[in-house]
């Protein structure tokens, strides 16, 4: 495989350095709590408030960020005591994971807590505390080795080098598996070495991802293909950002033609309010490349009527600051007019290859003007 070296690849130590920083932050958290207790006072932890009042959209960063409002969690308050303990335990657990080079999942954390009588009522509560720890140290949970269950996949000519134990230093080309490579903890923490690709294409649906592989979109368009599996997991969003940021590849996103599909693209581009407390999950330069409402008309795609939820969702999006730009507003208006939606697979109505042979080259060409 003739690999063309890209200039924008960062030095390979970035992932390791970040891990070190996160570990230090966890240690500092422990020291802060401990020194307060040693001084005979009830320990206090401060973190940015994640209430909606404290979330704003940062035009410069092009993502949601938290404001200056802080909340204090103090061990003196009986209602704070349990979440306080949970937070300290979680920091301790995260550092254990990092020291041992292991990862865990959201669900796993919920069960691990039971050995220490940490008393999470349910996984929703432990997920909340994980978000708290993200807020306190300002890094995403993936950075302290906790991953969600969902997995998306990636395929294309990209050589990576693992940093996880036992695979450390080992390299892999992401065309190695015909189904693509799962974006798990190991891939999420791998360093990029080399690629011949020129663009990144994100695809919402598994069937369409497979179709693209079979039709060799990666070769025909020099693309890295990412299957988001619906709403893209945060590890995947972070990876997309790195593909854009570190390799300088433009990112195009293809989703279903409905308000939900639009939002999948939007979250990859500008992030979600839920993750306003963490950075580096957004790819502001990524482009929503389809399927658009106008495509339903232009390509005469088989479509369905909007239901009430669709209508309501569309109204919400219309007011959302992330949707203020011209393309979004134009497509929202068309959706409002036609009140119909279509899935990516709708192209199959005109044969299996039409989307790759006709739609995709046309759209990628058009995208140059957006």
């Amino acid at each position: 495989m003739g690999l063309k070296r890209k200039k924008k690849v960062r030095k390979a130590a970035s992932v390791k350095e970040k891990k070190k920083t996160v570990q230090q932050l966890l240690t500092q958290l422990g020291e802060k709590v401990l020194s307060q207790m040693e001084a005979g006072v009830f320990p206090v932890i401060e973190m940015p408030s994640r209430s909606t009042a404290n979330i704003r959209y940062d035009e410069e960063l092009r993502q949601y960020v938290l404001g200056d409002k802080k909340i204090r969690r103090t061990a003196r308050n009986i209602r704070h005591l349990r979440p306080f303990t949970q937070l300290v335990w979680l920091a301790w657990t995260a550092r254990q994971l990092m020291e041992q080079g292991k990862t865990s999942t959201l669900r796993d954390i919920f069960y691990m807590s039971q050995a220490y009588e940490i008393d999470f009522k349910d996984q929703a509560e432990s997920d909340d505390i994980i978000t708290d720890l993200e807020s306190v140290i300002g890094y995403a949970r993936e950075d302290f080795n906790i991953y969600p269950e969902e997995r998306s996949a990636i395929y294309g000519d990209l050589e990576i080098e693992y940093t996880v134990p036992r695979y450390e230093g080992r390299r892999l080309n992401l065309t190695v598996h015909p189904d693509g490579v799962v974006i798990g903890p190991a891939l999420a923490t791998a360093e990029f070495i080399d690629t011949s690709a020129e663009i990144v294409i994100c695809i919402e649906k598994g069937a369409m991802f497979t179709r693209f592989l079979e039709e060799e979109v990666h070769r025909k368009f020099k693309a890295i293909l990412v299957h988001t599996a619906g709403q893209a997991p945060r590890a995947t969003r972070h990876l997309i950002r790195r593909l854009n940021d570190e390799l300088g590849l433009p990112v195009y996103i293809f989703c279903d033609a409905d308000p939900w599909g639009m939002h999948i693209a939007q979250v990859i581009i500008s992030g979600s309010a839920n993750a306003a407390h963490v950075r580096e999950l957004v790819t502001p330069d990524a482009k929503w490349a389809g399927v658009w409402a106008s495509d339903i008309i232009e390509w005469k795609l088989p479509s369905e009527r909007f239901n009430e939820l669709d209508i309501k969702r569309l109204q919400e999006l219309e007011k959302d600051p992330r949707y203020h730009s011209e393309l979004w507003q134009r497509e929202i208006k068309i959706f409002k007019k036609i009140q119909r939606k279509a899935e990516q697979e709708a192209f199959s109505r005109y044969g299996l290859t039409k989307i790759v042979d006709e739609y995709l080259p046309k759209r990628l060409e058009e995208m140059k003007s957006y």
Binding site: L26, T27, L29, G30, E31, V33, L34, S35, M37, E38, G40, F42, P43, A75, R76, I78, L81, R82, F84, T85, V88, W89, A91, W92, R95, Y116, E117, I118
Partner: protein, 517 residues
């Protein structure tokens, strides 16, 4: 035995007729109920006998049954009841136990006996079912002991003395022993008999009660105090409660020769001036001879008595309530509750009869959670065990009281309510005399008493909840602070800190909080 023979008049009726006619209402309808009633009558006589001489009662009851089961599971039982009470003077023993009396109703007294026949009914029942004599051993003076074996001549209502022995009494023993045979069904009567002893122990905490059942099992209820309530006194009837028939009987027996002295002599709290005012109100000449009153005049007299406002309310001096201390002692002794509040209401009057209501509310401890409030009813210091749902107390507890207002959930909380009504006349709703009618005056007193007691319970429960909350609060700190210490220390790579000062400060903090609350 508290049988007054002199001065009062008694009507003799055929006891056999009377008995058969009144078998059911007297509580001897079947062998199980009869056994329960016999024990109850004799034990209550013994309690009365002890109270008459201010002697804390020691009562020993032994029941033995032969093995042969007769019809309906009944067999012949021997019932022996011993007490250390007043004893019965020797010359009265044959009549007291061998003759059925119908007591004078001209005077009123708070008595235990539900039927005015006391133990005689039990003895008569025993004789009818087993054809055996009764043995009565008694010493009233502490010098001699008289041992009688008696039967009742049913047709003539006379005692037949089969044997009479006199022994010298070296130990100065006083008391009475009665031994009688009767047909009974212990296995069916057992629950009620045991419940009777237990509840009697509650309402007579100054008595030692011992019961040995036919299987040789010993049940013992020990006294917790020597204090006894003052014995009830006899009192004259209040004019308000008199009916025509009673009036006729009083007239028939009176020695008085004019209406003023008649009223003063036979009725409660009437003086000369009140008598004259009343007679003027009733339109009856003061000098009229009572025995010359016509039927119409008697009716007019009785009606006027109910309308006249000038009588003084009947005095409750003659009543003998249990008292807050004793009632509490009895409840604590038998049920060991976590909390008990006893309230005695001021004396009140219904239909010319004075009464006093005493109530108690108890919580937790030995009181079981039954899914409903337990109700214990007492009238004139005897437990009422049958027909609970028809009783006025039941209505008050289950319909009139709003328990939630007092932080009580009747379906889950272990709560017991005790109601004691004492009166010269308990308004039983039926001849069965096991439940009290819902007389508005009594109902109101029970309700007010219960509200008073429940308010105290509610305070107790609030405190209990506050203490529990405080404990839970401390538990949370004790659980989580060490964990915070451990994990933060391990994160920092140092020794865990001493958290005792923090825990200590939490306790102080907690007390402050409780005071504020």
């Amino acid at each position: 035995m508290a049988v007054q023979l002199s001065r009062e008049q008694f009507y003799e009726i055929s006891p056999a007729d009377f008995f058969y006619r009144n078998r059911d209402i007297a509580g001897f309808s079947n062998p199980a109920r009869a056994l329960y009633s016999a024990i109850r009558e004799l034990v209550e006589n013994s309690l009365d006998a002890g109270e008459l001489v201010r002697q804390p009662p020691d009562i020993y009851v032994r029941l033995t049954c032969d093995g042969e089961k007769g019809e309906e599971g009944a067999n012949i039982c021997t019932l022996r009841v011993e007490d250390n009470g007043s004893g019965v003077p020797a010359r009265h023993i044959p009549q007291a136990f061998g003759q059925v009396f119908y007591g004078s109703k001209y005077r009123l007294r708070q008595t235990r006996g539900t039927f005015g026949l006391g133990g005689t009914m039990a003895i008569l029942y025993g004789q009818i079912t087993t054809n055996s004599p009764v043995r009565v051993v008694s010493s009233a003076d502490g010098k001699r002991i008289h041992d009688y074996t008696l039967m009742i001549d049913i047709r003539n209502n006379r005692p037949i003395v089969l044997k009479h022995q006199v022994f010298s009494n070296h130990d100065g023993w006083r008391g009475t022993i009665i031994e009688t045979k009767l047909e009974g069904d212990y296995s069916r009567a057992m629950p009620k008999i045991l419940e009777y002893f237990r509840q009697t122990a509650i309402v007579a905490p100054y008595a030692n009660l011992t019961f040995v059942d036919p299987k040789g099992r010993l049940y013992r209820f020990e006294r917790v105090t020597e204090n006894m309530p003052k014995p009830p006194e006899e009192t004259k009837p209040h004019p308000y409660g008199i009916d025509v028939e009673t009036m006729k009987r009083i007239i028939a027996s009176t020695q008085c020769r004019d209406m003023v002295s008649f009223l003063r002599e036979h009725f409660h709290k009437i003086g000369r001036i009140t008598a004259l005012k009343f007679l003027e109100f009733a339109g009856i000449p003061p000098r009229r001879r009572p025995k010359r009153l016509s039927n119409d005049e008697i009716v007019r007299l009785v009606k006027a008595m109910k309308k006249f406002n000038g009588f003084r309310a009947p005095s409750a001096d003659c009543l003998s309530p249990l008292g807050v201390e004793l009632f509490k002692a009895g409840i604590v002794k038998e049920l060991k509750p976590e909390f008990v509040s006893v309230k005695q209401r001021p004396p009140s009057v219904y239909s010319g009869y004075p009464f006093i209501v005493e109530v108690a509310v108890a919580y937790g401890g030995g009181i079981p959670r039954t899914g409903d409030i337990l109700l214990y009813r007492f009238a004139n210091r005897i437990p009422l065990l049958y027909d609970e749902a028809s009783d006025v107390s039941w209505k008050v507890v289950h319909q009139l009281m709003n328990w939630r207002y007092y932080k009580v959930d009747p379906s889950t909380d272990p709560v017991a309510v005790f109601v004691h009504v004492c009166s010269t006349k308990i308004p039983y709703r039926s001849v069965g005399k096991e439940f009290i009618a819902d007389v508005p005056e009594i109902e109101r007193e029970i309700l007010n008493g219960l509200r008073e007691a429940a308010r105290e319970l509610s305070l107790f429960l609030s405190r209990k909840i506050a203490v529990q909350k405080e404990k839970q609060r401390l538990d949370i700190f004790e659980k989580y602070l060490p964990k915070i210490a451990r994990f933060s220390a391990e994160l920092a790579g140092r020794k865990p800190p001493d958290i005792k000062p923090l825990l200590k400060s939490v306790i102080k903090y907690g007390l402050e909080e409780e005071k504020e609350g």
